[in-house]
Structures are given as C-alpha cells and as structure tokens.
C-alpha cells in the first residue's frame, strides 16, 4: 500500500478501490506488470538491453581500460589495426585507438545526445502543439505548414545542414554533442508537435473542457491544467521510439563525417566510417563491435517502445486466460447493500 492509500484510509474507514502502489503506476513498471507471454518477453529483453546500455554509459570510466582518445600507454603505442588480444580484447582501429574502450565510451555520447535531443524536442513540440491545437486559427495553419515543410526534407540531410550551421566547424565534446542533438531536435519537433496537436484538438471537444469553459476558466488555465496533462499520455511511447531514431541519426551523422571528432568523444558512427576500408581487407573487429553496439542499443529501446505501445492498447494487450467460473461479479447499481452505499449511509448518519 502506498502513502496515498494510507492517507485516505486514515481520514475515513473506506479505502478507495484498491489503488495500485506508486511503484507499479510508473510508466514502464506498470506495463511490465500487465504483460504476459510473448509481450512480456519482448519487454523484458528490451528493458535488459536498455539497462545494460545505460549502465555501460554511466560507468564507462570504470569499465573502459583506456580513454577514448588514448593512443599509447606505459608500454608504448597501441599500434593500428591490431587483432583482438589480451591487452586489446576487441583489437585496435586504423587510427590506433582501442576498439573496446571506444565502444564503451560511445555509449556515453549516444545517451547524452539522445537525452538532449529528445528533451528539447519534447518541450518545444508539446508547447507548440498545445498552443497551436487549442487556439487554432492562422497560428495553427502556419505551424502545420512549417511542420510539413520540415517533414518534406530528408531528415538526415536536414541534420547535416544544421550540424554545419550549429557547430560552425568546431568539434569540442559539448559543441559536437549539442550540434548533433539540436540537429536531431529540429527533425523531431514536428513529430511531437503533430501528436500533441492532434490530441489537443480531440480533448478540446471533451465535455470536461467545455465544463471548464462554462465555469469561466481562462484560456491558459484550460490549456495547461486541463488539456496539456491529458494530451501527454502517449508521450512515453513516442519517446522511446524516437530515442532509437535519434541514436540512428547520430550514428548516420557520424558515419557521414558530420559528427564528433575522435579526440572530443567516442562515437560509433564515426568509428564505422573509419572501418569502411578495413572490411574489404579482412579486418572485421573495427566494424563489428561499434555496429553491434548500435544494433543492440537501438533494438533494446525499440523493443521497449513497441511493447509499451502494444500494452497501452487494451485490444492489443495479451491477458492470461481465466477459469470459467472465476472472479467476483462486478457490482450493479440498484443493490442498496452495495459496499459504497453502506459507506455513504454510515458516513452521513
């Protein structure tokens, strides 16, 4: 039982109909409890992969044996394109970096870029979506056209242009991360904007919004107290799906050479790019591990997103079969011996 239920139980003998504990109402955990069978398998796999990804990023300095830009240690230079050995378990790259270390450090860069990109695009997208959906009129039309125009560009091309504009050729750690993150942000804002706008337009017609209007609530109050919170329900799902897309865009940028310099941070896309020529000469380790890292991270986040998407929809959600004569009948209204009626009478007596 949570604090909430105990509070109400303290003020009245009646406990509300079994409110689930706070822990199980958190977005991901709630879905995990609901899931069964294959859906649970997908969700658990996704969650484990994502958890590993996050842990690796958080503890990169402890896990990685070398720095991401380290070329030599006490015993001298690493050497270029060395096959996997005890000192370098995933070998070294053409530039002489340790592959294992760069894969580990790369997770950190990836997470930073994902978080910054998604947070920025969520904030901007939600604000624009609510305002434009609720107010409508010319503002709405202009924003929709801009959103569509951004959609019309190939997103990677847009990200390239923006990364050139934002970073201006510099490539410090944060400069590079922000350049990558913001260029992804611009591509994602229309997605959030559209979802939130569509939800807002739907919610605008709900009786509870009309009821607020009837009471004379001001427009900002309706927008932010009544509409906004109801419009953000689908966000965790888009959030996870977008996170994997952000990761892919970052890798794409790096692969095309618009990412972060190897001396500023480790980045999987960049390493893949540098490994291109290795593949044809039989050097598999420089391409395999960064590629695998990208695949697993994207797979993990996507699995979480997809299974949450399924679980959020009662029609797609799987349930355990029940026995024929199982469960209690649900309460009907006419019975005066209904628990709630007894409560009411006791309370009012």
């Amino acid at each position: 039982m949570t604090t909430e239920t105990t509070e109400t139980a303290g003020s009245a003998p009646a406990t509300p109909p079994a409110r689930p504990s706070l822990l199980s109402r958190l977005p991901v955990l709630k879905q995990l409890r609901q899931s069964v069978g294959l859906q649970r398998g997908m969700l658990v796999t996704g969650l484990s992969l994502t958890a590993i990804f996050i842990l690796v990023a958080a503890f990169a300095p402890l896990i990685a044996p070398y720095g991401f830009a380290q070329l030599r240690d006490a015993s001298g230079p690493f050497g270029a394109q060395q096959p996997p050995s005890a000192a370098h378990i995933m070998g070294t790259t053409v530039g002489g970096y340790d592959v294992f270390s760069r894969v580990i450090w790369g997770a950190q860069t990836a997470i930073l870029v994902i978080v910054i990109a998604v947070v920025f695009s969520i904030i901007a997208g939600i604000l624009l979506g609510v305002v434009s959906g609720y107010l409508g009129g010319w503002l709405d039309r202009v924003l929709v056209v801009i959103g569509d125009a951004i959609y019309a560009f190939p997103s990677l091309l847009l990200a390239i242009v923006l990364s050139i504009v934002i970073s201006g050729g510099q490539s410090s750690l944060w400069g590079g991360i922000f350049a990558a993150a913001l260029s992804i942000t611009v591509v994602f804002i229309p997605q959030y904007y559209r979802v939130i706008r569509a939800e807002t337009i739907r919610i605008k017609a709900e009786p509870f919004v009309e009821s607020a209007k009837m009471l004379g609530a001001s427009t900002p109050r309706i927008m932010f107290r009544h509409v906004l919170r109801n419009a953000t329900r689908t966000l965790p799902i888009i959030f996870t799906l977008n996170a994997s897309e952000a990761l892919l865009t970052l890798a794409g940028l790096g692969f095309l050479g618009f990412g972060i310099e190897p001396t500023a941070a480790a980045e999987w896309g960049y390493d893949l790019n540098k490994a291109l020529s290795d593949v044809t000469s039989g050097i598999w380790w420089t391409a395999l591990y960064p590629g695998l890292a990208i695949v697993l991270a994207v797979l993990g986040i996507t699995l979480v997103g997809e299974s949450m998407n399924d679980l959020a929809d009662p029609r797609l959600r799987g349930r355990k079969r029940v026995k024929a004569v199982a469960g209690a009948p649900s309460a009907t209204s006419v019975d005066t011996t209904l628990p709630s009626d007894v409560e009411i009478r006791e309370e009012n007596a």
Binding site: Q34, A212, H226, G327, P329, S330, A331, S333, V334
Partner: protein
C-alpha cells in the same frame, strides 16, 4: 419467406433445411443450461454470467432485463458465439435451426461452424444502427452479404438484389426498388434500424437477438421499431431475445421476461405476471425506480404555490419577480460550409424562466434543446432574436463581460464520465469553480467548502480524494451536481443529466436534484428527451420540435391535455411499464397515426 429459404437451401450448415416447416415449429429454439462466463481483465477475473439457465420458445419474445453489468448483453451475445477472446465460457447453449431438425451446442462449435450458424439460425440486431452499417456500401449490398456468406454456389447479383428488395419491403422501407441502391447516410435513424433488421432477417433465422434495439432512437421512432419487431414475431414466427434496460419497452413487446442481476437470473415470469406481481426484491425495486408521468405532480404544484406566494409578496412590495432567463424570438444558426446555407437549429423560440422555477425542455434528437442550453451557458452564439441571461443580452456576447455572470450559472453535463478531467481528483474538480472565481486560492483552501458540497449531494467526504474513474456513474453525476452548485448559482442548466445512468440510479439522482432545488431554490433548465423524467422535476414543460417551440405549459396542462399533435404523439409513443396499459396506449397511438391531422410532422421511421 419461402423465397429466402429456397435460395439458401444449398448453403446453411445443414443442407436438409425444410423450407415449409411450421413457422412455430416444435420445442425451444434455444436452451441455455448453466451458462457461466468470466472475463480476463487487468484487474483479474470478472464473472459476468453465473449459472444462467433459460429457454426461448419458437415465436416468442423473451426480454432479458437488468442494469449495466448484470450480464444480460453477455448472455445474449454468447448465443451467437460473439464473445471476445478474453472470455471463458462453460455450460451449454443448445441452438436449434428454424425447422427444428438440427441442434448445435454453440459453446463447443469451432469458428467455422459458428459462422455457418450465425445468420441462418440466429442473427443479431445491434444498438446503434448508424455504426452497425458500413457507410461505403449500399444497403442492398450489405443485406445480400449474409446471402453470399451462406450460399454454397455463386449467387447472381440480380438474385441478391431481388432478395434484398423483398426483405426491405417486408420491414417497411417505402419504395425498396430505389432504396436498395442507397447508402446508409441517406436513411433516417429509424430506417437504418429497419435495414439492420432486414439484414438480420434475410436468411430467415429462427431467432433474432436484439441488443437494446431502440435505445439509440427517439421515442416516436422507437414505437415504430417495436411495432416492426412485433410483426416479426406474429407474421414470421421469429423468436426474439430482447435485451433492454427500458421497462416500458419490455411491457410493450415481451411475452416472457427474465430479470438478471449480477450475472444471475433473479426472476423469470410472463410479462403480465411480472409487472402485476413481481416476486423478487430486486424486480420490485427496479420497477419502482421507473419514472412515471404524474409522479412529481404533487411536488411541483406545491412549489408553484410557494412561488405564487412569493410573487404576491413582491407585488405587494412593489418589486417585480426576478426573471433569470428570457428568450424572445430566439434564433440560432450553425454556419454552413462555404457557399451553402447555414443550419437553423433553433427557430423563433420564446420562453421565460423565473427565479426558482424549473423549466423542462423536452424534444427528440435534433430538436435544438441542447443548443438552447449551450446558448444560455454562453457556449454557442445566438444569431437572432433576443436571449437575456441574468439580464445579460447574449446577442452581443463578449466572454470578458459575461465571465462574472458565469459564477451564477451552474452546468451539469450529460455524460458524467466525460465531464470530469480524468487526472484531477473529485475534490480538485469540484474546487475548480471556487478557484476560478476567486473564492479560494487553491484546492486545499477550498476543501472545506468542497466537503460540504459532497455531503450535500450525499457523497462521503473521503470520495474527494478519488479519481473520477473510481466512482460509479451515479456517484459521478452527484459529484457533477456538486460542482454545478459550488458557487450557489441562480441558474442550473442540466443537459440530459440522467440519460447515461441506470434507471434506479436515475431515480436517486432525480430525487437528489429535487431535494437540492427545494432547499437552495435555484432556477433550472432541465433538458431531457424523456417526458417521464421531465415531469418528475419540471414546474413547466416546453416541447421542442425541429427547432420550434410547439407547446408550453405546466406538467398538468402539457401532459394531461396536450394540444399540439406532436406532443400527443410523443406522449402516446412513450411506453409505460405496464403491459395492459401499454396495449391500450398502442391502440391510441395507432389511431393517432391514422387520423389525418394538418401540421402533423412527417413520420421519421
């Protein structure tokens, strides 16, 4: 009927169908034995049907009544094997074909076998005719769909169309040769339901399951559909399982009645016996809760007397009695699409609501009653005439100047589930008006008043901490009433506040409404499609028809001595929960229909 059978003789699950069997046949058409159904839900297993046994005889109408959650719909749907995947069924449902030559246990049939049985042995009429028909196909095509599904050899287009025309004629669609090629949107609601019934009838099943077939329809159209269902039984010998919560409909149509409560059958009897002498406690309470015309008369007369006293005081003191709402020649138009004429929802309507007076606004869907309510609340702009709300002329409306007046207007919406923000607790929602109008700084500060309000509407204070979805429909509507009354308004607008509720809950909410009105003395505009509900509460009743006010007066005037032809028909169409009285009213309605009256609105059915 015979044509239907011959074309279908090759199809069906059993080719040995005998087309000329006695329509009444022998033996029951369906026997349900110890049926139990449970559903898997997120909250664990829920038992919907618990050991139900019943039989339906050939050519009889069996009504299954009960309130929402009683398991009546689930029982009926299980006859067609139409339950969702999450359901688990035990027991037996033995369904016989029309000729009585073969029986099947629906519970054990495979999907393929079920498909063969559906449509030919048993079919279904749904609640909402506008969603039961596919908008992109002609009605003829949809009716023939059943024939195509069940005919082994290819059915020629001309043949299918001929069948469809034939069946449309039988369900009373005028000019079926043309109408067969029309799309669903070209039919009115009642005609759509006729088409749905035609589609159910096309394979001439021995049993039709009708799940709330008239709930979505206006009361005058309902009478026509009930007449059609009666004809199915009498002329086609089709047995009907009628699912309904409306006791009037039961009294009108049913031969036998099964009362369900919490998944169990609590009473089973002839319609006449059940209404005259109900045995089970639950049945008695259910019947007592049905509003009847004339029930609130005493109370409204008492109120009118008190008001007359007040008015006398006013005249003695030289002051005028306050008018809360005054409409004169009110017109409301919705703008049409570019280049098209707008739709006139309200046309030249005049009425007045005095302080402390309850005006009941009654009319069918599309009559403009909700539009008037919304216009008074400032949600819809008026386009002509004059509408004065608390002295404010709505013709030159401005939200800024009207806002202070909103504190004096309470609103109760139709659907209590949707009119609460799902993310706010009940206490927060009830506190909203107090905060908006500056009576409290935050929900915590308003809590004392909120608790008072919850008590006033007979909800425990602790319910304030719950979220809307944790309350039942009736409790939510009480909370909605608390919110509407939070600022002690001079005027309360209630738009169909009980139409989403079960009948017993409706009775309690109406009683509460009447008590609070008496206590707080607010004026009210009570909008409903149900004359009986209006009569319980209203001092005066205004009848709307197609945007025009056709009759206005006290309950006694309008309901006992209606002058307008439409009011008469509305009144006669309202089924009463008494089979004997209802048969009488049916004759009256038939006489009214056949009598050619000038200005009589065209039948919608």
């Amino acid at each position: 009927m015979s044509t239907v059978n011959t074309t279908n003789s090759g199809g069906g699950p059993r080719g040995d169908r005998q087309p000329k069997a006695d329509p009444r046949g022998t033996g029951p058409v369906v026997t349900i034995d110890d049926l139990a159904i449970s559903f898997a839900t997120d909250a664990g297993a829920v038992r919907a049907v618990d050991g139900v046994s019943l039989t339906v005889n050939r050519g009889e109408v069996l009504a299954i009544v009960g309130e929402s959650g009683s398991g009546k719909s689930v029982t009926a749907k299980s006859i067609l094997g139409l339950l969702p995947e999450t359901a688990t069924t035990s027991g037996a449902i033995v369904l016989s074909n029309r000729a009585g030559t073969a029986t099947n246990d629906v519970v054990t049939l495979s999907q393929g076998q079920l498909r063969a049985v559906r449509g030919s042995d048993v079919s279904m009429v749904f609640q909402e005719p506008s969603t039961a028909l596919n908008p992109v196909f002609t009605v003829g095509w949809q009716i023939a769909e059943g024939l195509r599904a069940h005919s082994g050899q290819r059915l020629s287009k001309a043949e299918a169309k001929r069948e469809a025309i034939e069946i449309l004629r039988k369900v009373g669609i005028p000019d079926p040769e043309t109408r067969v090629d029309h799309y669903p949107h070209q039919f009115s609601g009642g005609q759509k339901q006729r088409v749905v019934i035609a589609a159910a009838l096309v394979l001439n099943p021995g049993l039709i399951v009708a799940d709330e077939p008239t709930t979505a329809l206006d009361v005058t159209v309902q009478a026509e559909i009930l007449e059609l269902l009666r004809r199915l039984r009498d002329e086609f010998g089709t047995a009907i399982v009628l699912i309904t919560h409306n006791m009037g409909v039961v009294a009108d149509l049913a031969d036998r009645v099964v009362v369900m409560y919490q998944g169990k059958v609590v009473e089973e009897a002839d319609a006449a016996t059940l209404f005259a002498d109900p045995q089970a406690d639950y049945t008695k309470r259910l019947l007592a809760a049905v509003p009847r015309i004339g029930q609130g008369r005493v109370r409204t007369e008492e109120r009118a007397r008190q008001r007359a006293l007040r008015t006398d005081e006013h005249t003695a003191a030289g002051t005028n009695e306050e008018t809360v709402v005054e409409a004169s020649h009110l017109t409301i138009e919705y703008p049409g699409r570019f280049g098209r004429k707008g739709f006139r929802a309200v046309n030249d309507v005049s009425f007045r609501i005095g302080a402390g007076e309850v005006l009941g606004l009654v009319g069918e869907s599309g009559s403009g009653k909700t539009t008037i309510g919304r216009a008074i609340g400032g949600l819809t702009r008026i386009s002509g005439g004059s509408l004065k709300v608390l002295g404010f002329e709505m013709l030159d409306f401005s939200e800024r100047r009207f806002k202070p007046l909103r504190a004096d207007i309470g609103f109760v919406f139709q659907d209590p589930a949707a009119s609460f923000n799902p993310l706010l607790t009940i206490a927060d929602a009830v506190a909203e008006p107090l905060i908006i109008h500056g009576r409290a700084a935050n929900p915590a500060g308003a809590r004392k008043r909120v608790d008072e309000l919850l008590e006033a509407v007979q909800l425990p204070k602790s319910y304030g901490d719950r979220f809307p979805h944790e309350l039942s429909g009736g409790q939510r509507q009480r909370a909605s009433l608390a919110r509407g009354l939070a600022l002690e308004p001079k005027l309360l607008i209630a738009d169909e506040p009980t139409s989403a509720l079960d009948v017993s809950v409706q009775a309690k909410v109406l009683e509460l409404f009447a008590e609070l009105q008496l206590e707080l003395g607010f004026a009210a505009l009570f909008i409903s499609h149900d004359l009986a509900v209006i009569d319980v509460l209203a001092d005066r009743i205004a009848v709307l028809y197609h945007g025009a006010l056709v009759e206005e007066g006290t309950g006694a005037e309008v309901l006992d001595h209606p002058k307008n032809a439409y009011t008469k028909r509305l009144l006669a169409s309202l089924p009463v929960p008494d089979p004997v009285q209802q048969a009488e009213r049916r004759r009256l309605l038939a006489a009214l229909e056949s009598a050619p009256t000038s200005g009589e609105p065209a039948s919608m059915g």
